[in-house]
Amino acid sequence: MTTITKDGGASDTKSRRDFLYVAASAFGAVGAAAAIWPFINQMNPSADVLALSSTEVDLAPIAAGMIVTVVWRGKPVFISHRTAKEISEAQNAKMSDLLDPQADADRVQKPEWLVVVGVCTHLGCVPLGHQGNFDGWFCPCHGSQYDTSGRVRVGPAPANLPVPPYAFLTDTKIRIG
């Protein structure tokens, strides 16, 4: 750096000058970081997407034995109004038979309503309802099978169909998400 100090009082001006540069650079860096935030945040879900992040579903029209598919956050969600037979099959399954052991009671809030995300945990296809050997779902892509609690019984899927967060607003209405 070809700066030429004029006089012997250099050390005092030098430290004052250095502080100035440090301060300016530090402020500048803070400013630059703050300025970058909007550019990153704009890729986060926008207000209209957030507004659709929960879906309410009226359960009244779903008869026993019916499975209804709704869309939640762009994905299918199966809502199954289980018959007594389906409930007992789900509750009485042996943990050792399950690839991903989980009790039915841990997957439902009310036994006659099963709410699961309809995306196969293998590679993401949508399984077909009331099919397969376990009275649940069958995924045509690679042959995975799920039971009446949405638990995987035959692979290659590694995990049970996920249960989304949901709550009963009334006896006949749920809010998913």
Partner: protein, 254 residues
Amino acid sequence: MRKQLTAAAVALLLAAGLGGPAFAAAEEAVPSQHWSFFGAFGTYDRAALQRGYQVYKEVCAACHSMKYLAFRNLEDIGLNEAEVKALAAEFQIADGPNDKGEMFERPGRPSDHFKPPFPNDQAARAAFGGALPPDLSLMAKARPGGPDYTAALLTGFKDAPAGFKVPEGLYYNEYFPGHKIAMPPPLSDGQVTFADGTKASVQQMSRDVSTFLMWAAEPKLEDRHRLGLKVVIFLLVLCGLFFFAKRKIWAEVH
């Protein structure tokens, strides 16, 4: 000295010349009013916004859509989540097709946009003899004068001056370019009963609905002003720091 004078002269010239077209477009200079949201520190008056929304809903929405606004946006003017949900549910929104392939109607949700009075422009034109009531979402930004213009327009209906012919189906308005507007005077005293008890004169309603229209066009105004203040102050500090840094570094050269 001469440089500064020339610069000033040039600036004046530009200002005068560029102000020209704005004056040429409006027939009558729109009176400027004081608005709570004007100026660098302006904010929206929430009470005025709610009254304005009431005017829109009870008077304007019969003919004018506001399609860029969603019910959830009303949380911004002071309604809480439950109120917004209830308000949205008052409207039947078109949806579908259902599993039978039919379109159906269902109660509105906060995520829905305001329901337009007509399903499309052609239906609106058919109802009003060819005239289309414009969508109001951006009206406050789509006219020179903005809220001053909308307020002036709403209070500017009067008898045509002697000799000025107004055809059947049109109405004389002081501030509408050309003076002949297809909209009949929409406001009359006491037309709306405000929830907060404010007297609903035409003057009051036009100010409140103009405030509401400005918010509808620019809902982020307050965010913009707030962030702007922080940014400008921060940059001024940075400016000062860099100024002194520059002077120090250049001290040897000068």
